[in-house]
Amino acid sequence: MSKFKKEGKKSTPGVNTSSLPDIVFMLLFFFMVATTSKENDPTVQVEQPTGTRAMDLTPFKQRSEVDFLYLGKPRNPARAEAFKMGYALSLDNVVQPTPDGLYNTNAVGQWKKDKFDQKPARMTSPIELVITCVKADKGAPTGLIFDIRKELQNINALTIAYAVRDNSNI
């Protein structure tokens, strides 16, 4: 005779999942706050060099005061052969043609002008202060960057940003 009656098979109670949505929402809000929306994946591959003490562009990005230019190796290997220098410029995912086998930066001026015209009216910065950020690959020739710089100078867009990967304060 035992005091404790052994019962038959006990079924384990189901885990209460009523707070699962709360947990997931919390995660969701964290990611909504901590991240910024991705630019469309560039058609060129860019491995940025590292640097320190760089300026964070997020506030400018939120005010849509910054346009991104990508300078890197084309992702499509078939296209890569067309570029003698091995580097191509990507403006809004349009890889710029290179008629003479060299790079062609003539399109930068028109692109930047169009971008500026499309900006919302509430943005009152003159074109001189609208940042153009060049995201260039480690090995990209600097001559190309100076060509871009000259095109920007021609249309009076006088603020340029050289992108780096800053690992010092993450």
């Binding site: 999942t17 009523s18 699962l20 949505p21 997931v24 929402f25 995660l27 969701l28 990611f31 909504m32 901590a34 991240t35 910024t36 929306s37 991705k38 060099p49 640097g51 320190t52 003490r53 760089a54 300026m55 964070d56 562009l57 997020t58 506030p59 990005k61 910054v66 991104f68 300078l71 940042i131 950020c133 260039a136 690959d137 480690k138 090995g139 990209a140 020739p141 600097t142 001559g143 960057i145 100076f146 710089r149 000259k150 920007l152 100078q153 021609n154 009076n156 867009a157 006088l158 603020t159 340029i160 940003a161 050289y162 992108a163 780096v164 990967r165 800053d166």
Partner: protein, 256 residues
Amino acid sequence: MAKREIPEINAGSMADIAFLLLIFFLVTTTMDKDQAYIRSIPKKIEVKNDPVEVQKRDILAIKANSQNQLMVRGEVFNDPDKISDFVLKFYQTNQKAAGQLVMNDFPLYSVITTSQIEDNIDKILDEIDAMEAAGSPQDQIDFKYNQLAEWEKKQRALKLYGGSQLPEISFQANMRIEVMQATAYSIFAKIQTEIEEAIYELRDKEAQRLWGVSYGTLKRKEANENDKTKVKEEKGKLELLEILYPARIIEVTPKN
């Protein structure tokens, strides 16, 4: 009439909906920040003047060739981390001897005094009055107003600095980055990093000495403060640091 019971909404699929949203945000957003060095491009000039003569001691030329070798002031070296030392030396060598003529290869420092600043402001104000009376072109008058703003900035800076004189590096002192067409972007970016690093160090040291706060804190305060008077205060401090250690960077367009 009997009260009809409202059936409860089944919230079992709420988690699924939230997961869907979560995954959507995970996929379309990115964590990494866009960080960059912001530089201004000089305005295009229509009229070509003869270039201004700059003394050799006022130039810190940082050169990199197509083989990514570095040279600063005639010294060839391979370790790019050394560039910031050159920049520091460029700024600091004659700083203690402000107002004196020193025979070496580094930019001279001059001192500006309160009375000098006041004299200049008075002089420019008189000139503006005269020009406005004579009906000079607007851009010439604007130029004078810019000069006036510059001197007023110095006046504010000196007040903040304390004492009666402000040491100022030669107005022509500049750092120039001379690269070649084929120089890798990583080297160019590294030079920018090193300059930024050195300027930060100098300004940080001064900020610690004057107010006991770091330069980074000052900048953050200026950016995040809502109180208008406080923002002005921080801005004034940053202006002073910029006058003491101006970052004049010239990026020379490569010819070959």
